[in-house]
């Protein structure tokens, strides 16, 4: 790449350039592949010879073997199958809710940090208000509201879980993005763009945002891991996914009691969450490299 002269940048499309830079980060490429494998496994969970709910209580706590790759749980169900099915919920909830939360956070934080003044005051007070809500009480209140509705689909919908998690976690990215924008909007290149007649939208989207993508992506990877764990916590308050439908968080939680007797029960869901979070992390790393304007424009 060292031979590419500054002039050649215009010849390559921006998208191709970003892609090339992304895949130059080897771990990011590997992470994409891993995440794709996990998603495919979850999507084709039905091809397992076992059912995720069918039980054989007499065949409980079997250690990993050829017939049960990840062993069996306290009700004699195949853990591998349950993890595959669990991935459907956990990956969906993790990816979508953290994306939603970040998107909302970026919107609020960018507007607030860039424009400042009364808009900043209003948006940040709203953010503060959300932050001061004791989460547990909001959840109990919501749970109370939902249980009076005679519609099971509303109580048990993954969508509700996603919306709840996103609406209770967008404040952290919002504050992060605001602080990044506060700093960046005073930088010379922003002043230069403004002097050249660049619109606010152009400045925000093309100049400030790419410069703040790194911390935002890191924050998203953290949100995703938290969302997978929070999802299993929510079911304890009567939201969303109820047993016997497996999720990684709930399998992990149930396994705690059996940690001496059947350590593999906690190991596999833990590893899945670990792999997912690491993968997202590396993808975030790769994206940061790919989007870094300094790297792009110097063509390094």
């Amino acid at each position: 790449m060292t031979e590419s002269a500054p002039g050649s940048i215009k010849e390559q499309s921006m998208a191709r350039m970003i892609l090339r830079r992304f895949f130059k980060h080897r771990l990011a490429g590997l992470a994409i592949v891993l995440l794709a494998i996990l998603s495919l496994l979850a999507a084709f969970a039905g091809s397992s010879p076992y059912s995720p709910t069918e039980q054989a209580p007499a065949n409980d706590y079997q250690p990993p073997s050829a017939s049960h790759w990840f062993g069996t749980d306290e009700l004699g169900r195949d853990v591998f199958t349950r993890i595959l099915y669990g991935g459907r919920v956990s990956l969906t909830v993790g990816l979508i809710s953290s994306s939603l939360s970040i998107a909302l956070g970026i919107l609020v934080g960018a507007l607030s940090g860039y424009f400042g003044g009364w808009l900043d005051s209003i948006l940040m007070r709203i953010t503060d208000a959300f932050l001061t809500f004791p989460t547990i009480f909001v959840l109990i209140l919501l749970s109370a509201f939902l249980r009076e509705q005679p519609y099971p689909w509303l109580k048990n919908s993954v969508l509700v879980v996603i919306v709840i998690i996103a609406s209770l976690s967008w404040m952290w990215p919002a504050r992060l993005v605001r602080s990044l924008f506060l700093v960046l909007r005073e930088r010379e290149f922003v002043s230069a763009t403004r002097a050249l007649g660049g619109s606010d939208a152009r400045i925000i989207i093309q100049h400030i945002f790419p410069n703040s993508i790194g911390p935002i992506l890191v924050s998203m990877t953290l949100q995703m891991a938290a969302a997978i764990i929070t999802e299993s916590g929510l079911s304890y308050l009567g939201f969303g996914v109820q047993p016997p439908t497996p999720t990684w968080g709930s399998i992990l939680y149930t396994a705690q009691v059996h940690v001496f007797k059947a350590p593999w029960l906690a190991f596999y869901p833990g590893v899945m969450i670990f792999i997912t979070v690491m993968a997202i992390n590396y993808i975030g790393d790769g994206l940061r490299d790919a989007f870094d304007p300094y790297v792009i424009h110097t063509g390094r």
Binding site: T53, Q55, P57, E74, L75, T230, G233, L252, V259, G270
Partner: protein
């Protein structure tokens, strides 16, 4: 209902600690050092002395037994503030404690018309602050527990029947009842309240006393570190000379089961409440350091059916539930459950078979299961009731009694969260139901919602549920609990918000039998009435009984003198414990 109140915030912490293998945070040496000091200060007459650590899974919100209904409260409070006039021993017999003798017909303590009870206190009794304990404190206890605004949730049964308490002298209390109360001996078995150190009766749930009680029990709270530990020292004024033998109790709050067992392994705990492991596994993990003792519990697991339509905006017994209103459907559900596999393989024989509400104590009724496991019969009953198999295997109504044609045989099964044995049972019976074409959707809520009040719109209170699964239990005398649960007048409603007839069951025979059981003093007559009520339950099927829990306690092998009892908590008889390091 031994459940850990659970918050979202602790979840991630729990998971992290499980990933860490639940290893203890302190070295065993640290505990030994801390126990050595108090041992040196032990008074000569106090046995071996020493400090005993008790591991409990959750923190009690109060140590006032009467102000709480969570099982954890008694486990701790019994060591300090629950020493009363009498107690119930491990055989289910009343034994005098602070009274010289139990008032009975024979000794004249109970009048011939059953309306007057005379309690005599032992002489020279003192509260743990050194103040004299007199008959006026018996009167005060009645004033508090008979006050409808006291907020009492436990142990207040029959106090409204006491019209007056006379105290002719400091050792004598004469109680006048408006109508006979057969369970009169149980009323003062859970502790007395001191007039000089408590507060206004209507303010009971807010007393400072609730967290630092002045009691007549063997120990006194000396320190309470929220979320960590509760420490108790000896009560120097305890009524039995030379007891308690121990110098100090430390209740350590450890929510995570694996961490609890790890602490027992490292000798950081001597008593372990409700271990997560079954006895065999526990004993082999603890390798001679401690072992688990099981005692039949009082918590009786059942599925309650809502006989009335949910979400109809009224909590009363009409109109009937579109699906469960039909007795044939309830019989089919009862026949669909594989009880043997549930008890032996799912619950690993850690529970006993239970077929009816009366499974322990003197009122125990040995009844056969009304509808043993028979999936073929379940399917026949459903066909007969007008439910035919639909395209996806779940039945739909065609000519059913109340349900419109085309209604799916789909029911919600509500339970409470964070209690593995319950969840395993739910998951198992949902599969049982599926096998005969019934869809059951598990919907678990936090403990506080499932057991919430009418004002909180708890589903069981306002009648907005299909099936509920939880464990219920009563003390030595069933009357108060059973009358509240089965009397047709006790269906929870706007005007009767404490009713516990969650099934919305109306059975006039049961009403009459409850009257008989509640007004007779002859135990045989009462037992007969209770067993007939059980028959009515098993005929009408407002509920189906599954199994009875046992309470498990882990005790270190160098702790002696403990007694486990169905009727007491872990700390019942703690004054007799002795510990050798």
């Amino acid at each position: 209902m031994k459940v850990k109140l659970f918050t979202l915030f602790v979840l991630s912490g729990l998971i992290l600690s499980s990933c860490g293998g639940g290893s203890g945070t302190q070295t065993p040496g640290a505990t030994q050092a801390s126990t050595a000091a108090p041992a040196a200060t032990a008074t000569p007459e106090a046995g071996g002395g020493g400090t005993v650590s008790l591991i409990i899974p959750e923190e009690p919100t109060t140590l006032n037994y009467f102000a709480a209904d969570a099982a954890i409260v008694r486990q701790v409070a019994e060591a300090t503030a629950m020493t009363g006039l009498d107690t119930i021993d491990q055989n289910g017999e009343y034994q005098p404690v602070l009274t010289t003798e139990l008032p009975t017909l024979d000794n004249g303590g109970l009048s011939q018309d059953y309306l007057t009870v005379t309690w005599k206190l032992k002489p020279d009794l003192k509260w743990s602050d050194g103040q004299p304990l007199t008959s006026d404190d018996i009167k005060f206890t009645w004033e508090v527990l008979s006050n409808p605004n006291s907020g009492a949730l436990s142990g207040a049964g029959g106090f409204d029947l006491i019209q007056s308490v006379d105290t002719p002298d400091p050792l004598t209390a004469v109680l006048s009842y408006s109508s006979p109360y057969p369970a009169y001996l149980s009323q003062f078995a859970y502790g007395l309240l001191p007039r000089h150190a408590a507060g206004a009766p209507e303010d009971m749930i807010n007393w400072d006393w609730d967290r630092k009680p002045i009691g007549a029990g063997p120990f006194v709270v000396t320190d309470w570190q929220s979320g960590q530990s509760i420490t108790m020292g000896r009560n120097p004024y305890y009524y039995e000379a030379g007891k308690p033998y121990l110098d100090q109790l430390v209740f350590r709050i450890v929510p995570e089961p694996a961490a609890q067992t790890a602490m027992m392994m490292q000798g950081e705990g001597q008593v372990h409440l409700w271990p997560g492991e079954l006895p065999d596994e526990y004993d082999s993990l603890l390798q001679g350091k401690a072992s688990q003792v099981l005692v039949p519990g009082i918590w009786n697991m059942a599925i309650d059916f809502n006989l009335s339509a949910p979400f109809d905006g009224d909590s009363g017994p009409t109109p009937p539930h579109p699906i469960l209103g039909d007795l044939l459907v309830r019989q089919a559900i009862a026949s669909a459950i594989d009880y043997d596999t549930l008890i032996h393989d799912v619950e690993k024989d850690s529970v006993y078979t239970s077929t009816n509400p009366f499974e322990y104590g003197w009122s125990k009724c040995d009844l056969p299961r009304p509808f043993p496991y028979n999936p073929m019969k379940a399917m026949q009953l459903l066909e007969q009731a007008g439910w035919v198999v639909g395209t996806d295997g779940i039945r739909v109504a065609r000519g059913a009694l109340y349900a419109k044609d085309g209604t799916r045989l789909s029911l919600e099964l509500q339970g409470y969260t964070n209690f593995d044995p319950l969840q395993n049972t739910e998951e198992f019976i949902v599969e049982n139901f599926k096998a005969v074409g019934i869809e059951a959707r598990i919907q678990n809520y936090d403990f506080s919602i499932i057991f919430g009040t009418y004002a909180d719109k708890s589903p069981r209170m306002i009648g907005d549920f299909d099936m509920l699964i939880f464990d219920r239990g009563f003390g030595i005398d069933p009357q108060e609990y059973v009358a509240n649960a089965y009397r047709s007048g006790n269906i929870p409603s706007e005007s009767n918000q404490n009713g516990a007839n969650y099934f919305r069951w109306v059975n006039l025979t049961a009403d009459e039998l409850l009257k008989t059981a509640g007004s007779h003093f002859d135990q045989a007559t009462r037992k007969d009435a209770y067993c007939q009520i059980a028959q009515q339950v098993n005929t009408d099927l407002p509920q189906v009984y599954l199994y009875l829990f046992q309470d498990g306690y882990g005790f270190a092998n160098n702790l002696t003198g403990y007694t486990v009892s169905t009727w007491g908590s872990m700390t019942w008889g703690v004054q007799n414990w002795q510990y050798k390091e």
